[in-house]
């Protein structure tokens, strides 16, 4: 019989490592017997997850196809050509892609959904631009979409990171917000006045910077100073 040096429990004959702590148990007097009868067989039952997701995708497709086809038909019958109906149809296509794309994945990959959503939004804006004309797409709409997409994806990546601790996550999110508002005002000013002038975004940026410093100090003290931790968090 072999015992785990860490936990003090006796290991079953089929256990090479302690099931409680994962430490490999080496007993020179009784070597591990790989042929010992394991308490469970090796085969694992796979659970099929596709059914509900695929059904949801199908139902969504049907539900969204009905209004899309309806508006296109009404437009075609009334005017003999497709004109205004392309805008609602494109909007429905956008909703379809945003809703159905996540159904194809087993695990929720939020950053990927956000990236795909940003590309879809950009494509939708491009369709609107083709229908309506103007210079708003290249100067304002697409840069703003790219900026918002990048900020959201950045926030998703840092908040779901397993390595980063909470203070670091908060600081990075605050920095992203800081950069976002500054670039946002730059885009607005460039589009409306043709020159960059920063005012309100700086207030937000300064607030974010101050908050980042507070989080940094509190995070540092939380790790280093036990008395501070007790006083503030217990």
């Amino acid at each position: 019989m072999s015992y785990c040096v860490n936990c003090g429990v006796e290991l079953g004959p089929a256990e090479k490592r302690c099931p409680l702590c994962g430490v490999e148990v080496i007993n020179p007097r009784q070597k591990f017997d790989p042929d010992a009868e394991a308490p469970y067989p090796k085969d694992v039952e796979r659970v099929r997850h596709r059914t509900v997701r695929i059904t949801a995708a199908r139902v969504l497709s049907i539900l969204l196809a009905i209004p899309a086809v309806s508006v296109l038909l009404v437009d075609l019958v009334q005017d003999g050509r497709l004109s205004w109906s392309l805008i609602p149809a494109a909007a429905i296509a956008l909703i379809f892609l945003i809703a159905v794309f996540p159904c194809l994945f087993k695990k929720p990959r939020v950053w990927l959904f956000m990236l795909f959503g940003t590309l879809e939004a950009a494509a939708f804006l491009f369709v609107l631009h083709c229908l309506l004309g103007g210079n708003w797409l290249w100067l304002f709409a697409l840069p703003l979409t790219a900026l918002t997409g990048a900020a959201v994806i950045g926030c998703c990546l840092i908040s779901t990171s397993k390595k980063a601790r909470l203070p670091l996550k908060m600081i990075v999110v605050l920095l992203i917000i800081m950069v976002y508002v500054i670039v946002l005002q730059m885009l607005i000013e460039l589009y409306l006045h043709g020159a960059i002038r920063l005012d309100w975004s700086l207030y937000v940026a300064v607030a974010c910077a101050l908050l980042s410093v507070v989080v940094l100090i509190v995070g540092h003290l939380y790790v280093k100073n036990e008395a501070f931790k007790k006083k503030m968090f217990y």
Binding site: N6, C7, G8, V9, E10, L11, G12, A14, E15, K16, R17, C18, P19, L20, C21, G22, V23, E37, A38, P39, Y40, P41, K42, D43, V44, E45, R46, V47, R48, H49, T51, V52, R53, K107, F233, Y234
Partner: protein
């Protein structure tokens, strides 16, 4: 057949990867003969008509419909209690698995509870032993006579019959919740094997039962975990353990369907450090209070009142379904940190005892709490099965090492052994 009061929540709560299952298994003295097992199963299933049922959707409620035959006997797998796909299982809400000398029954909670499950397994084993070895196994207690028909009482909904005159729901309050890295579709099982007499003597020395003793150890283990983890958002939540209570004995009812309630016991570690004896006494009194028949009848009445509510009865299932699922997700097991279900000491007639080596009982994954614990004693040994859906074996390590420190001998085995790797402790 309508679902019993406790079962009504389980079908709406099912998801594509989860349904509420538990498993009872018996290990014999020689490899299982599947032909004999099939014959034994046919006879046993006829005696337990609530098992051979198909879950159907009605307009207002789910219901059970009689099925002919029995489910196919399957090979056991490394991940017990994986989601039961009714269609692949011939419509049955339970499945039989075999591995070398072991017969395991995995049961969807909508058809019965642990008490009904162990009665089914013992009767199945009695039939198996009778056919295989040609012995006559005396029937009585949990081991039913398969030449009889199920009585009306055995198939009745005990909750409706024994609901108290006054409904008193249990006050809600969130308990500390264990967190870890979720392992989708794989239920980790860690079994601790202890000497029953040794545990009983320790419990007796403190003037408590084995369930109370082990619940106290579990509470201490969870408290240790809470202290180490220092989760800021959960620091005010008490450590609570749900202990299912078999109502059959308390209300003298012989139903084979669900008839259990629970007692929630716990320690509020904010109040200071508790000594083990002191904590065991608190758990003893809390459980005694939780097992008070009047209090339980009032709790049952509050659940029955929900079912009888005119609004609940008139709303169609397609509306009720998501609402009940959401309610179960939000409210389900938030009141407890983990669950400890003890089936107690199993006794068998000598004709069976000669061929039975071991019993095991385990709970499938709970709705939200990632770790559950179940115990059963047989043949001088106590089997404690921890099941978890997270990679980290925090709680079972804290539990078993505490038992070791208290001087008890523990042997552990797990379903990670086949892979040649143990779980990561802390």
């Amino acid at each position: 057949m309508p679902l019993d009061n406790a079962a009504k929540i389980y079908p709406p709560a099912m998801t594509e990867g989860w349904n509420a299952l538990f498993r009872v298994s018996v290990t014999l003295d020689e490899p299982v003969d599947r032909q004999v097992l099939k014959r034994a199963l046919l006879r046993t299933a006829a005696r337990f008509p609530n098992f051979t049922m198909h879950l159907r959707r009605g307009f207002f409620w789910y219901y059970l419909e009689k099925l002919d035959g029995v489910p196919e006997i399957r090979d056991d797998v490394r991940n017990p209690c994986a989601r039961l796909n009714f269609r692949e299982n011939g419509g049955f809400a339970f499945r039989i698995r075999c591995y070398n000398r072991r017969i395991a029954v995995e049961i969807f909670h909508a058809i019965t509870d642990g008490g009904g499950g162990i009665s089914f397994l013992k009767t199945l084993t009695a039939e198996y032993v009778s056919i295989k070895y040609g012995v006559t196994v005396p029937r009585g207690g949990d081991i039913l006579d398969c030449s009889d028909q199920a009585s009306e009482e055995e198939l009745s909904d005990g909750f409706l019959t024994h609901a108290g005159p006054v409904a008193v729901p249990e006050p809600a309050g969130r308990a500390y919740r264990i967190k870890g890295t979720r392992d989708r579709d794989f239920l980790h099982v860690t079994t601790g094997i202890l000497d029953s007499a040794e545990v009983l003597s320790r419990a007796k020395a403190l003037g408590v039962t084995v369930t109370e003793y082990l619940t106290t150890v579990l509470l201490f283990a969870a408290s240790d975990l809470k202290r180490v983890k220092r989760d800021f958002f959960q620091k005010r939540r008490p450590v609570m353990v749900t202990v299912p209570v078999n109502l059959r004995r308390l209300f003298n009812c012989r139903t084979l369907r669900n008839f259990a309630n629970y007692a929630n016991v716990g320690l509020d570690t904010r109040l200071g450090e508790y000594g083990f004896e002191e904590a065991a006494r608190i758990v003893h009194h809390q459980l005694k209070l939780g097992c008070d028949p009047h209090r339980l009848a009032a709790k049952v009445a509050s659940n029955v009142n929900i079912e009888k509510n005119i609004f609940m009865r008139l709303v169609p299932l397609f509306i009720k379904d998501p609402v009940m699922a959401l309610a179960y997700r939000i409210e389900g097991d938030r009141k407890s940190t983990t669950c400890f279900s003890n089936l107690g000491q199993i006794t068998l007639p000598p004709e069976m005892e000669a061929h039975v080596e071991r019993f095991d009982f385990m709970l499938g994954s709970l709705a939200e709490n990632p770790v559950a614990c179940a115990a059963v004693g047989y043949g001088g040994r106590l089997m404690i099965n921890f099941t978890r859906v997270i990679e980290e074996s925090f709680l079972e390590r804290a539990f078993f090492t505490r038992l070791v420190k208290m001087g008890l001998h523990v042997m552990v085995e797990s379903n990670d052994a086949a892979q040649g790797c143990g779980a990561q402790g802390d």
